[in-house]
């Protein structure tokens, strides 16, 4: 190989590569860890910390201020946080929050995320909790650093701390600007050596209090994301870009049928190919390792393997999935939650409405397949990965490979996001296993068919709903039953559930029970029953139909059913869908922790006003032309974040094609750190769910998944993009601009109501209720024909 020595500019280097143990330390340099720093940079706090900070790759001690913040002589600060950015710009938000508490200019700060031996374990990503939960210890430690620095300045300037002010990292005596000292002069190149307290990392605190919201200056500004320039000029070093000395390339060879048993491998079929390193197999796990990437890709096609099909079908075909689910015996069926007397209320209701809804398996289908690079040099293991839960991978890999945990490190780097897929990050385990087997660094990447077929899936659901209306059209009874196909749910990088562990026969005895879910209970309904159960597939291990956490796990499915059904009830009552909801919201007397009910009312109102909602019952009279238009609303909340979405659709009655022409979202996630960041996150979340509403469905026969690429598992495209999207940030009702509402999450709430908003709009336009996603052209057209709308 004669590779040119290309050296991209690396705009992110300022943030990333100045860490002594970042990529420069790959391969040979890794042994230098724990010895003298390679760069003139302060040692982090962890090495001297008492209990956790031992071994080659110690856990940074979250009770040491030095584990979180380093300030250099040039008066710049670097923040070390245990989160990973799934593409929503959380790193920028963390810098805004911490710079604000510290009184440093944003531009003089940097943020390092998610690398297990340099950043405290905040769990990586998940649950949209980065700002809502993890932001608090970040703010508190930054406030504590400011307090400590003011103390140092008081000594240096010989005045009491309360006579000091700090602006942009410069401490000055009030009334005498000539007496000043910078943070860098006070602490640069040295450690704080300040202990923090807190029973767990979320509770970490110093003595200082965080600022009042009205004193925050950087929070609330729409600063540009620091990670975007290197993402558009080609300089960012992604996890896919890792190159290590002596590295070879691997590809997996998957069983062609679910549950297939490996009978034999004809290694001679690839041994003489150029670049051959090894064929690795263990149980039903098979991989090829070659010097060059394209050689490994070719070898997968050429390797001759004999597989034996299982005696019985591992699952029904996707055509028969819902019939199977309805007849399956639940693996868990908890006692229903009952409020009031729903049976009596239904029996005495003026009108009873019943409906069944269905949501198929939908894949994560990342734009880039799973990948990782593992370095086994010098008796340690380093994994370079985009795993959102890098800390879990570290522990999982250590257990899987039986390597002491303190000799395993996971370096988080940017990657293609799949919104939950990397919570069960098979590739990192596989790369580490292969690296150990061949004794060299290994870069592994899945192929497209493998990713689409074998990634984790959002669970399929069936729903049964009944609602009772009284003579005045009030909803007096609501009976919900939601059944999830979710037995053996994956999601936390467990060493005995990742795919390689399953295929090697090293799986746990008891699968995760999985879970169903219920709609939120914000509406005032006097009588309700909520039933949830879980069913499994005939084959639960070594199957590509593995369930995992897909962006707001279960929320889109459940809210599709519940908020569509609320619309059915409004239509049966001949009441406007916004008014029908508003009546039940304003009548509610449920606990209103976080002003969620008041903020719900404000959000529904804001969405309706922004859209220009015309108050009338749905559906509207079907028009004469080929294009039928309509609008639909759906609303829900997630944790403390509220979202109301209105969709305007055009339905082509001749083709069944649905175009969502306009989306309006009123969104309240409390205190907003970066408004434009929230807007883009909300847009992306809505369109992600729009893809699930219009296109996505995993297809399979009784042997294998047949969705293997972007044709057989289609995704939203540019053609589907709404002409207009309005995101209204609702903040702080009932007290407008309420200053001390906390910051909540924004990554997933809008994923929940979007599907129902679109389905409700289609109903408004056509009078046809679609109770199964995706709303593909052929399915919509068939429903229109059945209803004689065509």
């Amino acid at each position: 190989m004669s590779g040119a020595n290309v050296s991209p500019k690396g705009r992110n280097n300022k943030e990333m590569t100045t860490r002594r143990d970042f990529l420069k330390s790959s391969g040979y340099l890794v042994v230098s860890l724990g010895a003298a720093p390679l760069l003139a940079e302060p040692q982090r706090g962890a090495p001297q910390a008492a209990t956790p900070g031992t071994g080659l790759y110690p856990d940074p001690d979250f009770r040491q201020l030095d584990s979180w913040i380093v300030i250099r002589e040039d008066n710049t600060a670097t923040f070390y946080v245990g989160k990973t950015d799934c593409g929503q710009g959380t790193g920028t938000a963390f810098r805004q929050m911490m710079a604000d508490e510290l009184d440093m200019p944003y531009d003089k700060t940097a943020c390092i995320m998610g690398t297990t031996n340099t950043t405290v374990d905040q769990g990586g990503s998940g649950g949209s909790d980065a700002i809502q939960t993890d932001g608090w210890p970040m703010r508190r430690v930054a406030a504590e650093a400011r307090r400590v620095l003011l103390g140092l300045a008081a000594t240096r300037l010989s005045v009491p701390a309360d006579q000091l002010t700090v602006t942009d990292g410069v401490v000055a005596v009030k009334g005498d600007a000539t007496k000043r000292v910078t943070y860098g002069e006070l602490i640069g190149g040295r450690k704080f050596n300040v202990a923090l307290t807190g029973n767990n990392i979320d509770a970490t605190t110093g003595q200082a209090r965080v600022k009042n919201v009205q004193d925050l200056k950087i929070v609330g500004k729409s600063l540009d994301r620091y990670d975007i320039p290197p993402k558009v000029d080609g300089s960012l070093n992604w996890a896919v870009d890792v190159k290590l000395p002596g590295m070879c390339h691997a590809r997996n060879v998957r069983p062609p049928f679910a549950g297939a048993k490996l009978v034999s491998i004809d290694e001679a079929s690839v041994r003489n190919l150029p670049g051959f390193v090894k064929v690795v197999s263990n149980g039903n796990y098979v991989a090829v390792v070659f010097e060059r990437e394209e050689q490994a890709v070719r070898a997968v096609r050429q390797l001759k393997v004999n597989w034996e099909k299982p005696a019985t079908a591992p699952f029904p075909s996707s055509e028969d999935l819902f019939k199977y689910m309805r007849s399956a015996t639940p693996t868990s069926s908890p006692r229903p939650t009952v409020v009031g007397d729903p049976d009596a209320a239904l029996a005495s209701a003026s009108k009873v409405i019943e409906a069944e809804y269905e949501v198929p398996f939908q894949g994560h289908t990342a734009i880039g397949p799973a990948h990782a690079t593992a370095d086994p040099s010098n008796g340690q293991m380093t994994i370079y990965t985009n795993d959102m839960k890098s800390y879990g991978m570290r522990t999982g890999v250590a257990q899987f490979l039986e390597i002491p945990r303190d000799r395993v490190r996971v370096v988080w780097m940017e990657g293609p996001q799949a919104y939950g897929r990397t919570a069960a990050d098979d590739a990192g385990f596989e790369a580490a296993y292969l690296a150990k087997e061949v004794g060299r660094p290994v870069r592994l990447q899945w192929m497209r068919d493998e990713e689409t077929a074998w990634d984790t899936k959002g669970p399929a659901f069936t729903f049964k709903l009944r609602g009772g209306l009284d003579a005045q059209g009030n909803l007096v009874a609501f009976d919900y039953s939601g059944r999830a196909l979710d037995y053996n749910h994956l999601g936390y990088n467990e060493p005995d559930t990742v795919l390689i562990a399953q295929l090697m026969g090293r799986r746990r005895a008891n699968p995760a029970p999985g879970g169903s879910a219920a709609p939120n209970e914000m509406y005032a309904i006097a009588n309700r029953r909520t039933s949830q159960d879980v069913v499994g597939l005939p084959m639960i291990w070594e199957t590509p139909l593995r369930t995992g956490n897909l962006r707001d796990p279960n929320g889109p499915q459940v809210t599709f059913a519940s908020e569509s059904f609320i619309d059915e009830l409004a239509a049966a009552a001949k009441v406007d869908p916004v008014q029908f909801r508003m009546k039940m919201l304003t009548a509610s007397t449920t606990d209103d922790n976080g002003f969620k009910r008041a903020r719900s009312i404000a959000s529904v109102k804001a969405a309706a006003e922004t859209f220009g909602w015309d108050t009338r019952p749905s559906p509207k009279p079907v028009g004469n032309g080929n294009i039928l238009t309509g609008r639909g609303i759906a609303y829900t909340y997630r944790s403390q974040t509220v979202a109301a979405i209105i969709a305007e659709v055009e339905v082509n009655r001749r083709t069944g094609h649905v175009w969502v022409k306009r989306l309006v979202c009123a969104h309240d996630c409390g205190l907003v750190i970066n408004p434009e960041g929230v807007r883009r996150t909300v847009e992306g979340g809505m369109l992600h769910s729009l893809s699930r509403a219009l296109h996505e469905e995993v297809k399979f026969d009784t042997e294998k998944v047949t969705s293997i690429d972007w044709n057989s598992h289609p995704s939203l495209t540019h053609l589907d993009t709404p002409a207009r999207i309005d995101v209204v940030i609702v903040n702080g009702d009932p007290n407008p601009n309420r200053p001390d509402l906390p910051h909540y999450g924004a990554g997933e709430t809008v994923c929940k109501p979007l599907l129902a908003a679109v389905g409700n709009a289609i109903y408004d336009a056509t009078g046809v209720r679609l109770r199964r996603v995706p709303f593909r052209d052929d399915r919509v057209l068939a429903a229109l024909r059945a209803a004689k709308v065509v």
């Binding site: 990437e293 192929m447 992306g684 690429d709 540019h718």
Partner: protein
């Protein structure tokens, strides 16, 4: 294996490879370029897009031996330290979420605007239709293309901001 010479972003490189190798692997692994990325290997998603002879080309499906003209990658768009107006528009609109697909979005848009400097909304949708984004940033991508088209019409190929190293 044999020696193949490629001109990429103005520089010649000679690599000793199997000439049937898809261009993507050569660009990434031999020339250490990071713009083009593997997404599907099937020409369906666009993450691997480069520009050859003014045409947005899926490098995952292009045999290296078939390439006779200069290859432009994402890294080659900036000129004299100034970002291409499309790259600047991507920053101004804050387009990316994860950003993995954006190489394909920008390179496809570049080839489109070079052909048609003032596309209609529908031409943008159709021109970009086969370039996928799983963070679904399409709305912002389309806004950024319109912004870049205006910038190019107004100030040539320059950019309003310097690239800062």
């Amino acid at each position: 294996m044999s020696n193949v010479t490629l001109k990429v972003n103005g520089q010649n490189h000679t690599v000793d490879i199997d000439p049937s190798t898809p261009l993507l692997y050569i660009l990434r692994n031999d020339l250490a370029l990071r713009g083009p990325r593997f997404g599907c290997g099937l020409g369906q998603c666009g993450a691997c897009t480069v520009i050859i002879n003014g045409v947005a080309t899926r490098s995952c499906m292009t045999a290296t031996s078939s390439v006779k003209s200069e290859i432009t990658t994402l890294e080659g768009l900036a000129k004299n330290g100034r970002l291409h107006p499309l790259q600047q528009a991507w920053i101004d609109e804050q387009v990316p979420q994860c950003g993995f697909c954006q190489n394909g979005q920008i390179m496809t848009a570049k080839a489109m605007l070079d052909r048609n400097p003032n596309p209609t909304d529908q031409q943008i949708r159709e021109g970009m239709a086969r370039t996928l984004c799983r963070c679904m940033t399409y709305y912002r991508i389309q806004a950024a293309i319109k912004r870049a088209a205006k910038a190019i019409a107004g100030i040539g190929s320059g950019s309003s901001k310097e690239v800062t190293a």
